[in-house]
């Protein structure tokens, strides 16, 4: 077991993170969970040149199934307003799960996860507390927010079209490409938005998208579906690669 743990820690780059953030340390955890906690120093700058230097007391709980299970991150000193994006267990909602998996798919390093997912979140918290709008934008809560991510990432005209894309992501590549593109162009997916779906294919196994689709489908309320149906009745839009990912929320 300890050998496995040692190998896992090496793969996750635990020491890399603790070296980069020397005030962070391992806290008592369990066989299933590695707990890292302490002050996290951020010194971050966005494209506009806005700089945030701050310290947050955080706790990161890394499941031994990581990176298949996302780390849970908590802020322990009440510096993140309770109303800011959180899960029901109080952990910070850093982003739509599939978006976070996208980062983990590139590298399983915890240091990169902190840099790419946690620091941007805390960067926004600091700016919101200074009275600014969150510069990266926010997603709605619940299934709607996740669908917003899919819609924007996959360049879909509506949330319902985005939901249909999630269904296609659970199919094998060739089978999904033979289906009609959810954007409503009348072309097959393969000849239309397949390029965008490729950004998510393989990020998670197909069974994961099956569960994701079931989850999203089940939690879509009538209002959302109606709004989405309304949207899909609008003239269909083809892929528009130059349209930027939603900039400001």
């Amino acid at each position: 077991m300890s050998l496995d743990r040692s190998r896992a820690y090496a793969e996750w780059g635990v020491t890399g993170l603790l070296r980069a953030q020397p005030q962070l340390q391992i806290l008592p955890g369990s066989e299933e969970v590695l707990v890292l906690g302490g002050p996290l120093r951020i010194n971050a700058e966005d494209e506009r040149g806005v700089r945030v230097t701050d310290v947050f007391d955080i706790e990161i709980r890394v499941d031994t199934q990581y990176p298949d299970v996302l780390p849970a991150v908590y802020e322990t000193r009440g510096k993140v307003p309770a109303a800011f994006h959180r899960n029901s267990d109080g952990s910070l909602c850093l982003g739509a799960p599939i978006r976070l998996y996208q980062e983990l798919h590139r590298t399983a390093s915890l240091e990169a996860y902190v840099d790419k997912c946690l620091v941007p979140y805390l960067f926004q918290v600091a700016l919101v507390q200074a009275g600014q709008d969150p510069p990266l934008g926010e997603l709605s809560h619940g299934a709607k927010g996740v669908l917003e991510f899919y819609r924007d990432e996959l360049r879909m005209p509506s949330l319902l079209a985005a939901l249909d894309c999630v269904r296609l992501l659970e199919l094998p590549w060739a089978a999904s490409n033979a289906e009609a593109c959810p954007c409503g162009s009348g072309r097959s997916l393969g000849a239309c938005h397949s390029f965008f779906l490729d950004k998510l294919r393989g990020v998670r196994p197909r069974e994961w998208f099956h569960r994701e689709h079931k989850r999203l489908h089940a939690s879509c309320n009538v209002g959302l579906v109606e709004a989405a149906i309304g949207a899909s009745h609008q003239p269909a839009r083809g892929p528009d690669p130059v349209r930027s990912n939603r900039g400001v929320g």
Binding site: S2, P22, Q25, L27, E47, R86, N87, N245
Partner: protein, 393 residues
């Protein structure tokens, strides 16, 4: 910074740490007078034990000279004692021995006007004895084991001089607790202490000789282990404090001192200073854990596994490994600290030790500043497509 400069600075820090974690010798002396007092009580004429061949001696960290200042100054010191009484196990059960010793401990508590109740534990009696020093004494009733078991230990590779100290002890939860003539649980604290001392005898030689030469002790055999102050003992104190701090929020999960002490003593190779001892121990410790049970055998009773609890509770095994991971990283990072303020923060965060500024500066030494590389400022770039905060269900 050069390697030699790094070693010099870390030596200073480690030395400072070791001296701050040490308890005053007077406290060891106080502990000695405590168990001497208890022994006198057991030997007094009216004692139920006065006729028996009875000995009281310390075990654990007071015996080994590895006591660490408690994190909380109000916390009690654990003084573990063995009360060894020669009894015939054909006519005396575990329960009887436990009861006889318990009676005498209670009478002692009464005579000393100790108000707190004597508590019965699984294997020992606990006497909370607080005057100017808060101690609790755990008194373990025991009886010398028979020659048959000593021979069995020798057959398992335990040297006879260590095996001969083996004792049979009582355990309230043992299936034969009330049965005459049955097998009793085993222990060998004196054998363990003798083994532990043998791991550092050579390096302690000069200091022991100096203490005898200065007439503080009559002979080298009289110099107790707490006076030896070897790099092994100091390294163990540093390890224990690091553990105490890391597990201050969850004491139940912390790696037990017996595991740390045994693995450290096994890893120690007679290094002459604390820093090299610490480095050796931290590097070698995990390899000292056996692949199959017993994972951490008692060196003087190989059937006993100090890591026995890891089987029922795998979290404890994970906790040991996590502690070692952090410890290993901390020993490396300590060597890279260039700035006295950072060193003070580090000592405080990892060891709960307040390093005075002049000591921190002195620890970094003459080589400290000129050779250090100033780390460039690290700025995290926030990508425009970074994840947007969401709210889960």
């Amino acid at each position: 910074m050069t390697e030699s400069g790094r070693v010099a600075s870390t030596t200073g820090v480690v030395f400072e740490l070791a001296s701050q974690l040490e308890i005053p010798t007077t406290l060891y002396k106080k502990a000695e007078s405590r168990y001497a007092g208890l022994a006198d009580w057991f030997h007094r004429k009216e004692s139920a034990l006065s006729e028996a061949d009875c000995m009281v001696y310390p075990q654990g960290s007071f015996r080994l000279g590895t006591v660490v200042r408690p994190l909380d100054p109000k916390q009690e010191y654990d003084l573990d004692l063995v009360c060894s009484v020669a009894v015939d196990r054909r006519s005396t059960s575990q329960m009887t021995l436990k009861a006889v010793v318990g009676e005498e401990v209670r009478a002692y508590a009464k005579a000393m006007q100790i108000r707190q109740r004597v508590e019965e534990k699984k294997r020992c009696w606990r006497l909370n004895y607080t005057d100017d020093v808060p101690f609790h004494m755990d008194i373990l009733p025991a009886t010398p084991d028979d020659a048959r078991f000593v021979d069995a230990l020798v057959a398992q590779g335990v040297p006879r001089p260590l095996a001969q100290y083996t004792v049979a002890i009582t355990d309230k939860d043992h299936h034969d607790y009330e049965v005459l003539g049955a097998d009793w649980p085993k222990s060998n604290p004196k054998g363990y202490a003798t083994w532990f001392e043998s791991r550092m005898q050579e390096v302690a030689g000069l200091r022991i000789k100096a203490l005898v030469d200065s007439l503080q002790y009559k002979s080298i055999d009289e110099v107790p282990a707490y006076e030896w102050k070897t790099p092994l003992q100091q390294a163990i104190q540093i390890l224990k404090r690091h553990r105490d701090v890391m597990f201050r929020t969850n004491r139940q999960a912390r790696p037990i001192s017996m595991i740390i002490t045994t693995l450290a003593a096994e890893s120690y190779r007679g290094e002459p200073d604390v820093l090299s001892a610490l480095r050796r121990i931290v590097a070698d410790m995990p390899q000292r854990i056996r692949a199959a049970r017993p994972l951490v055998p008692n060196p003087v009773n190989p059937a006993e596994d100090f890591a026995d609890a890891w089987q029922a509770n795998p979290d404890l095994r994970a906790a040991f490994f996590d502690w070692h991971t952090q410890l290993s990283l901390d020993t490396q990072m300590a060597a890279e600290i260039a700035d006295p303020a950072a060193l003070i923060d580090f000592a405080s965060a990892r060891f709960a030790v307040q390093l005075p500024i002049d000591r921190a500066k002195a620890s970094l030494g003459a080589t400290g500043h000129a050779g250090h590389v100033v780390r460039p400022e690290v700025v995290t770039r926030i990508a425009p497509n970074a994840p947007r905060p969401w709210g889960g269900e």
